[in-house]
Symmetry: C2
Subunit: 334 residues, 2 copies
């Protein structure tokens, strides 16, 4: 028996059945997944539903601080959480490149299962396909999250007002720089660690405080993408205090070595919140009390300004416009 995935593992026959029975079910098994029917049945809770989807195409598959399995779960859970929803169920679509060592697949599925347990959400249904060999190290995961909206919570850009504060739940750019440092073979690769983590519990705590107007997880495009989007769509300005943005020393060093912009780099375990001014200190304190929010900081303020732009105010009082990254810097970062 080969110790790598074969094209025939994707044919829908005996080998597909064995791949699922021997490698996937023992790791992800739960009552909803167990019947292996074409879909999973779930009891619908009262309330509005939230549906979100994400494909993970990161390379390498394993990097300091995480792997594609943890990323796939965190991505779906965090998208639900920033919408104000509690995750109910995940679906998992595996697109495996022929030649992937089964041992790697097993490690990634173990990590995915552990992250799902950490987030308290079951993988209820899935699909497995195999594509032709490329470099023999390929795996793409696509996850969909189903959640139910927390009662009494309304979030949205249209609620943002001048005077609101901008909060980030911790150091920025750790995921993007961890993956790039790993890919470039930098010596400091072991120091730069991805922040990839499911944020449902942290975000539940923030929402319980009240005063939160808008949440977004700054993944691809980083906080620059979110801030530029906010200014463009709200018609308000955002002033961001560069010195207030938390950055780990190793991540900063890697960004300098690689010539990458910290603001445009991906995060996978951070939330950017816009909070009314009166609640900002309490929401910040709630972050600090959570293991995933210890380095949270208030980094900016929403202001009336024409034209509506997000601006970085540097330590020396200079200003530079924060624009959405164009995109070519960081392919396959998540």
């Amino acid at each position: 028996m080969s110790d790598r995935v074969l094209l025939a593992h994707g044919g829908g026959g005996e080998l597909t059945a064995r791949l699922i029975a021997e490698h996937i079910l023992p790791r992800l098994g739960n009552p909803a997944l167990a019947p292996l029917t074409d879909g999973a049945l779930l009891d619908a809770p009262p309330g509005r539903l939230c549906l979100t989807t994400d494909a993970s195409v990161v390379r390498p598959l394993e990097f300091p601080g995480g792997d594609i399995g943890r990323l796939a779960v965190a991505g779906a859970v965090n998208d639900l959480s920033v919408m104000g929803a509690t995750p109910l169920a995940l679906t998992l679509s595996l697109i495996i490149e022929e030649g992937l060592p089964l041992a790697v697949l097993d490690r990634i599925l173990d990590s995915l299962a552990a992250t799902a347990r950490e987030a308290g959400v079951p993988v209820v249904t899935g699909d497995t396909k195999v594509i032709e060999r490329r470099e023999g190290d390929g795996l793409i995961l696509s996850t969909t999250g189903l959640g139910v909206l927390r009662p009494g919570i309304t979030l949205g850009m249209e609620r943002i007002q001048a005077g609101d504060r901008v909060l980030i739940s911790g150091t920025i750019a750790d995921h993007g720089l961890a993956v790039m440092a790993c890919r470039e073979g930098l010596g400091l690769r072991s120091l730069v660690r991805s922040d990839v983590a499911p944020l449902g519990d942290l975000i539940g705590g923030l929402l319980a405080i009240g005063g939160v107007r808008f949440l977004r997880d700054p993944t691809r495009g980083g906080i620059a993408g979110v801030l530029a989007d906010l200014a463009e769509k709200t018609g308000l300005g955002i002033e961001v205090d560069e010195a207030a943005i938390p950055v780990s020393p190793a991540t900063r060093q890697a960004a300098e070595l690689l010539g990458l912009d910290l603001l445009g780099a991906a995060n996978e375990g951070k939330v950017l919140a816009v909070v009314d001014a009166a609640s900002a200190a309490l929401v910040l304190a709630a972050c600090h009390a959570h293991p995933l929010g210890r380095q949270a900081a208030l980094i900016g303020t929403v202001v009336e300004r024409a034209p509506a732009l997000a601006e970085l105010v540097t330590a020396y009082g200079g200003r530079r416009i924060i624009s959405r990254p164009v995109g070519e810097e960081l392919p396959r970062i998540c």
Copy 2:
């Protein structure tokens, strides 16, 4: 501006925003998708929910009778339908290979949107990633379907009894042979057409008759995979009358030329139903009255038999065991 997808289109920046705004939203736009938030909000209907997921990796992307866009929608809708659910919403994850012509992407999105309209289900949220160039013709779609179970319908293998009849809603193997004939460049490629279609309406009609115990769409692995699975899991035998199985002449000829087994080839617009004997004629008539079921036929009977096997009874009275295909024959067929 390039007329092909660039890696930068997947970076999460300005180019990603434009790809979505110019190519995706005009085709798929609807009120749930329009806000482009991290997830879509939906009103939960009363009843149990059904969640299903599928990745489409078919090559070529366009083939006689369909394309990967139509396949991605039909796959999700049909999985929901055979579970007894009515589709509410789809999610769409696009994994695009760098170099894909934008004109091809546009055609596939048009087809996907038309199929979603045909099935009466909106695409409510999505994700777009770009991976490195391979052969410049690559696109993978992953769709998740959310549905609500039809009230009063209980389907399941455990309900199957000796004496039940096996029904197929039309000619078999058309999808698998259309794709393979296209890939092999056979002269008859224009005659063999994929059956890819969303079956929600047809299946709704069958379920309204009553007496349906179990449904499955025989995709990868074909009707052989479903029949072998049924015998293995119910502990009952299944006798299938070879002469009763509907096969189009062009598909049969392609199977002979390519040396492929019709029973193991994929279908993407057919449903296999197990129906109680008393209802079988009525359910068959309901199929015949629907445009997608005109060639439906009763092809077999569930029997008490040890060991529990699915068997094909040939025109000459011979018998051969129907086993689940091993898998290598047809990579990337769906």
